[in-house]
Amino acid sequence: MLVIKDLYAKVEGKDILKGINLTVNAGEVHAIMGPNGSGKSTLANVLAGNTNFEVTHGTITFNGKNIFDMSPDVRAKEGLFLSFQYPVEIPGVSMVNFLKTAVNEHRKYRNEKELSAGDFLKLMREKKAMVQIDSQLTNRSVNEGFSGGEKKKNEIFQMAMLEPKLAILDETDSGLDIDALRIVSNGVNMLKSPYNATILVTHYQRLLDYIVPDFVHVLYEGRIVKSAGKELAFELEEKGYDWIKKEQE
């Protein structure tokens, strides 16, 4: 589904990613872990097409297509979803209008008929119940005045609405209390299927108690320095990142 080859990227002139290789197949859950500043969020943003991040080398294909040929909205419509680490507040844009536009843009892209207002509201009710988001939140402007936890739940709700093939969750667990973490994780687990894949970008092992990964990768100084099964996460939890740093030196 996703194939990243020898990826280099810069932010504000500084090299952050220095040769990433990663393959993600349908049905898989990958966790990307690593200390602060290792390039985890950069990778997530490069995948989504944030132009603040400059790719200097390498290729990324998504379902066989070169994603560098696609603008962020086309990537989304091809089935790529980024759950933002810091979802932005957009006063004046209502959740309903925003989601209706997004859902219908996806449908148009797939040559499907746009949803009627009634069908859209029905879909929204279903998905809200599924991810247990407070129904009042969708009456407001996008993320405006939402608490940290509400913002993250809102990301998962949007994911449920858009049903992506590949979801990249960028530090979705940060700033969540245990209850919110459970709700967010349940949402992710419910959306999981043999046809889609998930990349969890996380600093802590905590999230992996709720969402069990098939693969764990450790990102350090812009490269994946270790890949293994879920047991690697427990090892990291126990020993921290220092032993990996030492191994690299």
Binding site: G49, N50, A76, K77, F84, I90, G92, F98, E105, Q158
Partner: protein, 457 residues
């Protein structure tokens, strides 16, 4: 030196136009009206055409406009063969108004023949009212708008012949809004003067819309002045929709006095126009009066939109709240000057002001200036101005959900604009204007050959 010479020339030329047409201009009007002209002429000659050197007009230089014009003056109403009511059906379904037509500054007697108003309410030609309702008019005419204080007021008073007079008796609540439609229509370039007077009695309630339109592609200068007296505890909403083509200069003045306990809302929506200058002066002249003053301007190409507000807190316990927003595209320019003057006795004043602007290009330019003069200690005042661009982070967020860049930008611009539109209290009108602004942002309202309110069909 050349500039100074030209300036003298424009003032001289306009003075000559007045001298030559003096008899026509004053014909059929009472002496006390015509007696206001000579002082206006002197004031105009003293102040000249406002330009960069005129402090209150530093963002809008009108000297070039007046140096280059030699437009026909509409000293008499034009006869039109076409029935304007047919050309111009503004009856948006579910949005029912009392329609008042004004053509080239003249109250359209034929067009307004069939309009009826609730008992006691007077809506008529101002010149007719000057003769028939002398007592009412003489008391208020030219009192709020003083020729000696403003060159555009002086010019308006100099040439004023007609416009609309509206009188709402005490305790009268108008259920339907009054919709005053100003149409500019001429086969040659035209200079139009319009003068309106509105008197809202004690505890009256009314909503008045001013819609400015151009029906033909000629160049126009429209000098429009409205004085409004708002009685105690009256609730008055004023909405203006400026939708004229880009060869129009709209120079308008709105002068309002509020008595105690009255509530005012003004909302000026500028969709199109060449040079637009809106002067607004509100006197909070009675305790517990409140004014909510809003404006939204969308400009592109070489348009220029300048809002100048002057809020005078004269009595204690009054509140004013201003919100002005501009979205500027291409090489358009904009200005906002918000003057708040709190007088020594006006204790417990609350006066707020905000001006937010979005520039869509590097060539667009916005000047914004708050001007607070506060002469006592017991006040709450705030002001804030921002000039910025579309938020890139928000744009990326929308795109990352599958919304293309163009659509995402539109959503953000519309969200920005909507804060002003949300202040429109008539729900149906708000919906209509919402749609209109949305269309304007999409570039779909480009011509104004029909009423803006008609565009939603």
């Amino acid at each position: 030196m050349a500039e100074v010479l030209e300036k003298i020339t424009a003032v001289k030329r306009i003075s000559e136009i007045y001298d030559t047409n003096l008899a026509t201009i004053g014909e059929g009007l009472p002496g006390w009206v015509n007696q206001t002209r000579q002082p206006a002429l002197q004031a105009f000659q003293r102040m000249g055409i406002p330009g960069f050197r005129t402090e209150n007009y530093k963002y809008t230089d009108l000297t070039r406009l007046f140096d280059n014009e030699n437009f026909r003056r509409s000293f008499k109403p034009d006869d039109f063969e076409v029935n304007l009511n047919e050309v111009f059906s503004c009856d948006v379904p579910e949005f029912d108004t009392h329609l008042i037509l004004v053509v080239n500054g003249w109250y359209d007697e034929a067009g307004n023949r069939n309009t009826s108003f609730p008992e006691g309410v007077i809506v008529k030609s101002l010149r007719k009212a000057m003769v028939e309702n002398t007592e009412l008019i003489e008391k208020y005419y030219g009192k709020l708008a003083q020729s000696k204080e403003d060159p555009l007021t002086a010019m308006n008073t100099l040439f004023a012949q007609d416009g609309v007079f509206i009188y709402i008796p005490d305790n009268t609540h108008l259920a339907k809004p009054l919709q005053l439609i100003n149409i500019l229509r001429s086969e040659d370039d035209l200079y139009v003067t319009q003068r309106n007077l509105v008197i809202a009695g004690k505890n009256s309630q009314a909503r008045i819309m001013f819609c400015d339109h151009t029906l033909m592609p000629q160049q126009y200068i429209n000098n429009n002045l409205t004085e409004i007296e708002i009685g105690e505890d009256a609730v008055i909403d004023l909405y203006s929709i400026q939708n004229q083509h880009n060869k129009t200069a709209s120079l308008s003045g709105l002068y309002i006095r509020q008595a105690g306990g009255s509530q005012l809302v003004t909302n000026a929506i500028t969709l199109h126009g060449g040079i637009i200058r809106n002067n607004l002066r509100v006197l909070l002249d009675g305790e517990h009066a409140s004014a909510k003053i809003c404006g939204l301007a969308l400009s592109d190409k070489n348009q220029h939109v300048d809002n100048y507000t002057n809020i005078e807190h004269i009595r204690p316990n009054c509140q004013s709240d201003q919100l002005y927003k501009n979205i500027l595209d291409d090489s358009s320019t904009g200005g906002f000057t918000g003057r708040i003057h709190v007088l020594p006795h006006a204790v417990k004043t609350a006066a707020y002001q905000r001006n937010n602007n979005v520039l869509l290009t590097n060539a667009a330019k916005m000047n914004t200036k708050p001007q607070l003069v506060i002469d006592n200690d017991d006040v709450k005042c705030s002001h804030g101005a921002t000039v910025g661009r579309i938020n890139d982070e928000a744009l990326f967020y929308l795109q990352a959900r599958g919304i293309n860049e163009k659509e995402a930008r539109l959503m953000l611009m519309f969200a920005f604009a909507h804060e002003v539109l949300a202040e429109i209290k008539i729900e149906k009108l708000r919906d209509v204007i919402d749609k209109l602004v949305n269309k304007r942002l999409r570039g779909e309202v480009s011509k104004c050959h029909s009423c803006a309110m008609d565009c939603i069909r």
